[in-house]
């Protein structure tokens, strides 16, 4: 089994018993078959968090954009599609932390770890965003700009846990996005 790797400042929201959380678990296949469920979940969860941040007029829209990208990303990478993905939100003072975890195939571990290392590198993000945006405009294939977009637009601090946890038997892909409410 590939060794689990933490990349970036991964805080493990699951381990924080005191955090107030909103969490969901759902089979990826349920979203693949009815894609609008990504947006429905994102809209509900963002509205739930927004009521505690009413001084930020447009926070629900911004949070929904971010959540939708993270859920779409998780659903696309979940392997097999019959497996369950988990997602949770928590607010700790001025930070909102979103955590998404999904099973992946063994072959995805290496490439996703490499991508994660790039995404926590500010130089990569700043210099490559426009290149990747332009490349996405030239290609008719999957865009691949979702995670870069939430870093670029909302200054999301992403961190990752990728691989098989100690004692585990399934390769997992976890992303945490730490957001400053003032940026939303």
């Amino acid at each position: 089994m590939p060794e689990e790797l933490k990349i970036g400042d991964y805080t493990d929201l699951d381990a924080d018993a005191k955090a107030v959380k909103l969490s969901f678990s759902l089979q990826a296949l349920e979203v693949v078959t009815i894609w609008s469920r990504c947006g429905l979940i994102a809209n509900f969860a963002s509205s739930y968090m927004a009521v505690a941040n009413q001084s930020k007029k447009n926070i629900a829209n911004s949070l929904s954009f971010i959540l939708n990208e993270l859920i779409e990303n998780a659903v696309k990478y979940t392997d097999p599609k019959e497996s369950v993905l988990h997602f949770a939100l928590s607010q700790q003072e001025k930070n909102i932390i979103i955590s998404v975890t999904n099973p992946i195939s063994k072959g995805q571990v290496g490439p996703l770890q490499e991508m994660a290392r790039n995404l926590i590198d500010p130089e990569y993000v700043n210099t490559r965003y426009i290149d990747i945006l332009m490349a996405s405009g030239k290609s008719s294939e999957k865009s691949g700009i979702g995670l870069l977009t939430i870093i670029n637009y909302y200054q999301a601090a992403l961190s990752f846990r990728i691989g098989t946890s100690p004692g585990g038997s399934v390769d997992r892909y976890s992303i945490e996005a730490k957001l400053n409410v003032e940026e939303l």
């Binding site: 829209n61 911004s62 929904s64 954009f65 945006l133 405009g137 700009i145 670029n152």
Partner: protein
């Protein structure tokens, strides 16, 4: 010209030479955005002297949608003779401000402006 999809609408108004979007465009992949791309291209190919894309009433678009808009700009930016393109975004929606401002880096002749819409008339 008009598109009525489950979660969003697009319509072209000849008098204002404007394609207006409303609702939420969050389809699964770029292939599903092909219909939107085709609609914008058809509006662009009309004999009007310019084209305006008005997103002020579009609440959401995912990154695949942003890529589709980039693709359209790539398709037309080297046209000869070219046609002016204006994109109107919603001042209060951050993903629009950020994504549309970036489009100027793809084509510097693009005109971008932002407007506020009345609270009561938002979709």
């Amino acid at each position: 010209m008009r598109m009525d999809e489950e979660n969003f609408q697009a319509s072209y108004d000849e008098d204002s030479m404007t394609v207006s979007f409303s609702g939420s465009m969050r389809m699964n992949n770029l292939g599903e955005f092909d219909k939107v791309n085709k609609f914008i291209h058809e509006a662009y190919d009309l004999e009007a002297p310019e084209l305006i894309l008005d997103y002020t009433r579009l609440e959401f678009m995912n990154s695949a949608g942003i890529s589709t808009l980039c693709k359209f700009i790539f398709d037309i930016k080297d046209d000869s003779p070219g046609k002016p393109l204006t994109i109107i975004g919603n001042e209060d929606i951050l993903w629009q401000r950020k994504s549309f401002e970036n489009l100027k880096k793809i084509w510097d002749k693009l005109t971008i402006r932002f407007e506020r819409i009345n609270e009561g008339s938002a979709t």
